[in-house]
Symmetry: C2
């Protein structure tokens, strides 16, 4: 599968000089990152974007690994034949007009799949947005935005997305919200040949991938998929579209997918250690969390450090909802943190630090309380609340170290306004502390982390990136 991601030569069938067309953006995106040979193919042009343009595939003199197909569906069989002569190994078909448009398209898709199989060419798509790689900066997609050039950060999160538009939406969300580095985003559409299981296998072996997210309307080879999930220590987070009867019906017309019985699938997911997600941002948030959290123990409870009594209480309620124990702080810990509290207050977990902050200042208190609580043997994880109006991220530098030293995951809930808030958030995430806007989501993530790492050993790929 590596020739899809790192091909030796790429032809763009349907390259265009018109910025209103996808064929323009494919070429523009490829030339913005890919350093290998690029062959635009379009009989109407001699050159596009300063590159020589070929009237057809046979005019390209050298062999090449990959073709990106963006012309009407009907020409695909002849293109496959021409590609075979150039020893092409894979074709990414980004055009629509195949199985999703009815019987005729389905027949064409099947015909092409068989033909490509005969020539030993792998087909990716059709009806998809191709792929994108945050490390190599290979963007083999017609997506219309240049924003990836400035906003995309390389990281350890890879995704497999069975919806062209959703893969763009996920990417936009990552670019807008930040906090998450991207490895490979794979939009697989109708998956006539390359499917989610093939890519899962590839990503499990990929050393740059630490955590894998999936949006799927169907899973073609369920047994192999589940077996791969059971075999890997990398977290696999799956948002399944078509859980409901009406959603499943819609999936048939979207990507010609048979969504399957979700009740059965949910059970199989659980047995295979798959982490479920239900909403788009939830999938993003859990992936982001895992991208920063490489290990966790499950041998104690969660401590909460809050600057708001109410915040601590609601967080404790969520821990209860997810069956996560609230840590009992040891006498030693309580004695140590008591030093920074006013006489009238005996701190307990959740630790409402505000009365201490009023007495001793925010830095002294966070430093003292964080250190004592993180070292408490009964504490295996920490939820910390912060407010950009009263401090900046520097008070959490010791926490970032402790988190790694002690192997205890930390998540943050942050409140604030404007640039100080956004800077604080960026800093915390850079320190490996994921920030959750939704407290319930954060607790849900912590539950997933503890579940995952209690069953699967620490995965060095995750925190190393």
């Amino acid at each position: 599968m590596n020739f899809f991601f790192n091909p030796d030569g790429v032809a763009i069938i349907g390259a265009s000089g018109n910025p209103l067309r996808g064929g323009y953006h494919i070429l523009n995106n490829i030339s913005g990152g890919y350093k290998g040979r690029i062959y635009p193919v379009n009989p109407k042009h001699d050159s596009i974007l300063g590159m020589k343009c070929y009237p057809d595939i046979s005019s390209i003199l050298c062999d090449f690994d990959l073709a990106i197909y963006f012309i009407p569906a009907i020409f695909l069989p002849s293109i496959i034949e021409e590609c075979a002569k150039k020893n092409v190994r894979g074709i990414i078909i980004e055009s629509a007009g195949f199985a999703e448009v009815g019987e005729e398209g389905k027949k064409l898709q099947e015909e092409c799949t068989a033909l490509a199989g005969k020539h030993n060419i792998r087909l990716w798509g059709p009806n998809c947005m191709g792929l994108l790689d945050g490390h190599s900066r290979h963007v083999f997609s017609f997506m219309y935005s240049d924003l990836w050039k400035t906003l995309m950060v390389p990281g350890n999160v890879s995704m497999i997305v069975q919806s062209g538009m959703l893969s763009a939406i996920f990417l936009m969300t990552i670019l807008e919200k930040g906090g998450m580095g991207v490895n490979k985003i794979c939009s697989i559409g109708n998956k006539c040949d390359v499917n989610e299981t093939d890519l899962l296998e590839y990503l499990i072996d990929d050393p740059l991938t630490g955590v894998i997210g999936l949006y799927a309307e169907s899973i073609v080879d369920v047994r192999r998929f589940m077996k791969l999930c059971r075999s890997t220590t990398k977290p696999v987070v799956v948002l399944k579209g078509g859980r409901s009867p009406s959603g499943a019906r819609a999936a048939v017309s979207h990507t010609a997918s048979l969504a399957g019985n979700y009740t059965i699938m949910k059970h199989a997911f659980k047995q295979s250690g798959i982490i479920p997600a239900y909403d788009f941002n939830e999938l993003m948030d859990i992936l982001r969390g895992f991208s920063k959290t490489g290990h966790s123990k499950n041998n104690g409870g969660t401590a909460i450090i809050s600057f708001s009594g109410g915040g601590g209480i609601v967080t404790a309620d969520f821990l209860h909802d997810f069956d996560l124990p609230l840590a009992s702080l040891s006498g030693e810990t309580l004695k140590s943190i008591k030093e920074v509290f006013p006489a009238w207050m005996d701190p307990s977990n959740p630790v409402d630090i505000w009365p201490a902050v009023e007495k001793n200042g925010v830095e002294t208190v966070y430093t003292k309380v964080v250190d004592a609580v993180m070292h408490d043997r009964g504490v295996d994880s920490l939820i910390v609340h912060a407010f950009s109006g009263i401090c900046d991220s520097s008070v959490f530098r010791p926490l970032a170290r402790l988190k790694e030293e002690l192997g205890k995951p930390v998540i943050a809930w942050l409140v604030g306004v404007g640039e100080p808030y956004h800077a604080f958030k960026r800093d915390l995430e850079d320190m490996g502390i994921p920030v959750f806007e939704e407290m319930g989501r954060g607790v849900r993530f912590l539950h997933s982390v503890k579940q995952h790492y209690s069953k699967k050993p620490y995965n060095p790929n995750v925190s190393g990136l």
Copy 2:
């Protein structure tokens, strides 16, 4: 109660010239909005912020309605006596050090409550952040930030918050995220006298309040509270802290609250038409949604207009989770929208408009599809997805009108990056279409809206603001 919100004269007991002290911010906040007489009281200063400062209450020559108390707890009894002589009607006690600090504080609090009762003075707090009014711009609080001066928009959302810090957090979230206009935010702390039920009654009668949100750790007078909720057509959304045993224990030390049995309370909430919330942003999102949604029928199903097949499918899954029917579009509607779709595609609900957009452009398609779907008799609500990369908010102007004309609530899920995204979001919200970042949250809101207005008639206070 109106003297708390619109007093004739305010004294600040503990006004300070030091910007590191709350007593400075109370004065600064009041003078930034309140147009009446202001009396700073502090024996150490002759003037603060250019205002004459009084050594004690007896030095103030005129009577005044309201005192804001921000000196150590121990002095409160004598201040109550002095206030009585000036015919003070209410004291907002923002200092801590009362029932939340143990037996001694509890005794002091009870003593003060009795004393004030004797003098017919109402007490607000203690251990709270006071109040804020988006319309009058009265900010009777020690909150440290001036941001309200530039970011606060008057609106129809009022809140009662039993946590000083959380009321600030809610406000910061509103200021940071926008999209919601503020009426009154009431931080009630230990509620030794004025409690959530008193304020609920006041806000139900308040013509500027259209929707009421509450964070409560306990409800003092449950029967009266529930009766008020049953009696009003205004949506009342409640986030109850201390739902769990551990959360309830934490509530005792936070605001000396007995959280009560949530299982019983949950049932009573439902019977009284209270809309529950569980997370901070969820409370905000539901309030924001209601602030823009004054009516709804419950006589059909929900239509989904999505530019992503996957987006439509997941949204349909959420509708199923919340038992909201997916509308069956009429033959007439389908025939009408079919005109803008390519021949191979027979649209159905969810309406995946992307193939139509590729053929006919985004404006033509949204206009056609929105109009047909909104007029369909089987449709009582609409979820619309949009992407700031392909259009701006102007295509939704007709929808904003249709929504009001037809009395069908509309919510949006919006994707995009940077300023075009934020501008799009602001515009939609200004048009009365709440934007949800979390699709599941949006569907949850729609469920609440349909539930609420099917039981309670349309409330003109909501959409009129």
